[in-house]
Amino acid sequence: MKLTCKEASHLLSQGEDRRLALGERIRLRLHLGICDACTNFSRQVQTLRKALQALRERSGPDPRS
C-alpha cells in the first residue's frame, strides 16, 4: 500500500524516536524516492536535530543577555 505524504511525515518523525519496522522503512523509502516535498521534510527534521545539538554544545556568551 502506498503512503500519502501525511503518513510519510508521521513515519519520518517517528523514525527519530523509535526503530521503524522493516515494512515501514520500505514503504517510506519508496515514497521518498518519488517525493521531493517529503525528502525536504526529512532533511528539515535532521536539521532541527543538529541545530538543537549545536545549541546544547555552544558555549559562547548568550546572545540575548
Binding site: 501525511k6 527519530e16 545549541l55 546544547r56 548568550d62
Partner: protein, 182 residues
C-alpha cells in the same frame, strides 16, 4: 573560596543558558541552576575529577530540570486528544498531500553557522505550547529517550510520538514563514 567552588561557579552561565532553553522561563531556569549548584557543591566527592566538570554539572542540572518539568506539566492544561495519521490535519489536503510543501533549506551544517537561522529557531521554540516544547526539548536538547519523556510527562508512547511530531511540524512551518521566505 576553594578552587572547586570557583570552577563550578564559572560554569553557571553555561548552565543557565541550558536551563533557559529547556524550560523557556528565566525564573524557573534560575531556580533549577541554583538547586543544581547547591547539590554540586555539596557533592564534590561525587565528582572526583573523573569526568568533565561541565558534563557532570549538566547531569545534575538535568535531574533538576526534569523535576521542574514534572511539576509544571501536572499543572498544565489537559492535552488535546491523541491524534495520529488518520486525524484531520490542516497542513494536508484530503488526499494526504502537503498544502504547503516543505522547501529545500540547503546544507544543514551551513545553517548551524547562520545566526539568523539559529535566532529564528529560538523564537519559534518559544512559540510552542509548553507540553509540546518540553517533549521536543527533552528529546532533542537533553537527549532523553522516548520512554523517559513519556514517564515524566505522564503520556502514552503513542501520544509522545504525536507531541514530537507536532513540535517538528510546528517548528518547520514557523521557520519556513519567519526565516526561509525572507
Amino acid at each position: 573560596m576553594n578552587d572547586f567552588r570557583t570552577r563550578v561557579q564559572a560554569e553557571r552561565g553555561y548552565l543557565l543558558r541550558y536551563a533557559r532553553l529547556q524550560l523557556r522561563d528565566a525564573a524557573a531556569a534560575e531556580d533549577a541552576v541554583q538547586e543544581a549548584l547547591v547539590a554540586a557543591l555539596a557533592g564534590e566527592a561525587g565528582f572526583g575529577g573523573r569526568s568533565n566538570l561541565r558534563t557532570w554539572l549538566t547531569g545534575i542540572l538535568k535531574h533538576k530540570i526534569i523535576d521542574t518539568i514534572r511539576r509544571q506539566s501536572r499543572e498544565a492544561t489537559p492535552l488535546p486528544a491523541e491524534g495520529d495519521a488518520a486525524e484531520f490535519d490542516p497542513l494536508f489536503d484530503e488526499s494526504g498531500h502537503w498544502r504547503d510543501p516543505p522547501s529545500d533549506w540547503g546544507d544543514p551544517n551551513a545553517l548551524l553557522e547562520q545566526k539568523q537561522f539559529m535566532a529564528a529557531l529560538q523564537a519559534c521554540l518559544e512559540g510552542l505550547p509548553s507540553k509540546t516544547a518540553y517533549a521536543f526539548l527533552m528529546r532533542e536538547h537533553m537527549g532523553c529517550e522516548t520512554t523517559e519523556i513519556c514517564k515524566e510527562l505522564e503520556v502514552t508512547p503513542t501520544h509522545c510520538w504525536v507531541l514530537l511530531y507536532r513540535a517538528r511540524m510546528a517548528l518547520r512551518e514557523c521557520l519556513e514563514k519567519t526565516w526561509a521566505r525572507k
